[in-house]
Assembly symmetry: D2
Homo-oligomer: 240 residues x 4
Amino acid sequence: MRVLIWNEYRHEQHNEKVANIYPEGIHRALQSFLETDDISVETATLDEPDHGITEERLVNTDVMLWWGHMAHHEVEDHIVEKVHQRVLEGMGLIVLHSGHFSKIFQKLMGTSCDLKWREADEKERMWVVDPTHPIVEGIGEYIEIEKEEMYGEHFDIPAPDELVLVSWFEGGEVFRSGCTYKLGHGKIFYFRPGHESYPTYYHEGVQRVIKNAVRWAQPVQRDISTYGNAKAIEEIKPKG
Amino acid sequence: MRVLIWNEYRHEQHNEKVANIYPEGIHRALQSFLETDDISVETATLDEPDHGITEERLVNTDVMLWWGHMAHHEVEDHIVEKVHQRVLEGMGLIVLHSGHFSKIFQKLMGTSCDLKWREADEKERMWVVDPTHPIVEGIGEYIEIEKEEMYGEHFDIPAPDELVLVSWFEGGEVFRSGCTYKLGHGKIFYFRPGHESYPTYYHEGVQRVIKNAVRWAQPVQRDISTYGNAKAIEEIKPKG
Amino acid sequence: MRVLIWNEYRHEQHNEKVANIYPEGIHRALQSFLETDDISVETATLDEPDHGITEERLVNTDVMLWWGHMAHHEVEDHIVEKVHQRVLEGMGLIVLHSGHFSKIFQKLMGTSCDLKWREADEKERMWVVDPTHPIVEGIGEYIEIEKEEMYGEHFDIPAPDELVLVSWFEGGEVFRSGCTYKLGHGKIFYFRPGHESYPTYYHEGVQRVIKNAVRWAQPVQRDISTYGNAKAIEEIKPKG
Amino acid sequence: MRVLIWNEYRHEQHNEKVANIYPEGIHRALQSFLETDDISVETATLDEPDHGITEERLVNTDVMLWWGHMAHHEVEDHIVEKVHQRVLEGMGLIVLHSGHFSKIFQKLMGTSCDLKWREADEKERMWVVDPTHPIVEGIGEYIEIEKEEMYGEHFDIPAPDELVLVSWFEGGEVFRSGCTYKLGHGKIFYFRPGHESYPTYYHEGVQRVIKNAVRWAQPVQRDISTYGNAKAIEEIKPKG
């Protein structure tokens, strides 16, 4: 299984507080817990040529992770187009936190993906509302994060195919924090936590959800559907 | 209630067979059965300035119908953008038949919206699979159409929020023919039948479904949600 | 439109605190805001013969409301059977608060309908997560209730067809508080608030949701589907 | 992984035609293709004590398959209760063909589970409508069965969580043939084909779907949720 982690990688280079938390970048933090015997992980960042997302890499990726925040508009449209195409062909996509406003997520959702937000060192408690889902294997009744950015409803997304996690926030809001979608031949998981100024991706529960999601999102082995003009399978009677 | 019917209106002007069926255009055929005491209907077509879709008209439209086929690419992106925005603000949208490949439907769905098709004077039988839905009020167990174009699965759309009708085709295919979606503050209904070379929009059952759909799709009266930075409602405890 | 409100009506007769809030019973409080020119409302309670749910009444009911709590087990199975049958035939059903544990709701859901609970004069804030839904017409971004019983996840129900409202509770939990289902030919709405020891059903927002839900749940006018042995519509070829 | 196949096992013993197709019973035919290095399979039949479904066996079953037809009413209610309980605790359940009318399926669905049917040596073509689903891994665009019993809509089930397969029938009907549900902590898959008088369970495509479904339905490893009275996690302010 081949995973590609895409990270904007700007905060970590320009903001000391963030650099202290993720000295090698959020992508490296994610890579360090995703890499296992049967999962190989590569990374790509905004400032690489083609944002590190070459045709060849895409074709060889089973599941992609996406973290972006302040530079969504710098991601080039033709690259977004290619990632979109790969998702429709079957590549899994895990969109993290502020990636809700990325071009690729908006393009897949068809909505604004807007929400309420607040940075206030706030407690978050993500409750499992779908206990049957492989994405919450090994997770207790909830995941508690001591300090996070708040995201609040209304979250302008299509009703998820499956709602797995719902967040409670100290300041009074709720949020659909773990949402699955199936688009084309690909599976998508949106996972809320991970503001750059908190050590969220070191949290064991958060890591477990991401690890589970990567396995859940891998493509099913079958031929892509055929489209277009189709011969009749059964005889069609001539009509008057 | 104010309805706006958008029609590409090309086949009817350039193809004699189609002109014989819809001499004043598909939009006029739709208008004639939609207009009632409490529903006012306007029409717009591709070759009008701004495709007949002015800002003012859009703001005053509760539900829009969309029929297009051979000239999807001629619909200008900034107009699509405006229609998209209005759907997210609450305008209902009924996408008919070959409108599956329109820019607006693709943008809302996030997928290719591709499918199988065949023009072969084929019998179609649309079965009601959700008998609770207001869209099938007054409809029997199925709607039979003597001759139609075939559309077959896989239909590359997100799993509909509600699947209302499923078509059987003489040539051996099935199709999800009546699909609802909710995106932003707007409701969308995709309805399959209506190939230009058949008199489908004179079919009583087809008309009833479209009439029902228009009522179902009207906007709910409430303020649009607010987004962005939000003050805490509850007190947040200072943390270490 | 004919509405039947069913209420256990025990707390109000045996508990002074509750009697002070709902002196004529919860059913009368519900009736007083539901009755309008085009909606006629009757009530029924546990201790009437057949719990007030006669065959004739059921046949003439479009939408039924159900409030029960301490005496779910006293509701006779053959009455539950009849209500269940009527829902499958198209009658709408609004299940309120502790009705989550009623026999009829469990029978319709197929699950335990269990949940977490706590009586602690707790603040509840129900957030709208589906702004397109007619059930939240006229409702702002949330409904706040100063003091309520807490219900917390995991709520053991099937994933709702539509999730409309999600509650935040002061004590740290979340809950899927407004859930729609379609079963057979009937529509069901579960609505969380309404503990007997709080004046919740006098809350304007709560009343509005219930009023909207009653309209949403009314049966669609069409014949009930036919089942059983069916003649072929198309010719079936003899096989070897 | 431990699988338990339950079969009514009456047709095979009393009907020569069926006995010729499944001489050792449908359960043995299913067992023969399900058993692998990492899946151990046991079988149980109606006429065994407790229908072969002992407490101990249930506790040790990860996924159960259910085939029944003429003797649904002979399955004892207390056994149905136990199977139901185990599904809510996490056991997967694959309900096959005429099992749609079994007590356990009706209890889980909350509806009548009724449908149209016809025995007429009819061609069936099951189309994949969800190409992302692990249940159709290795399956082409459709599965064709030369001769089967027809099942037709309306199928009186709750809208499935996921609709995976839709059948076309020669005689003019369609049917939702592959449906997933999640109830309690368990996953359910209803799979239409498998009338006793046809060799359907020897069909490679049908076998592949059942094999995939068994893997998909296995329980997620996490503690069962806790229910009932819950202590506050956060401080609740005293109110007036």
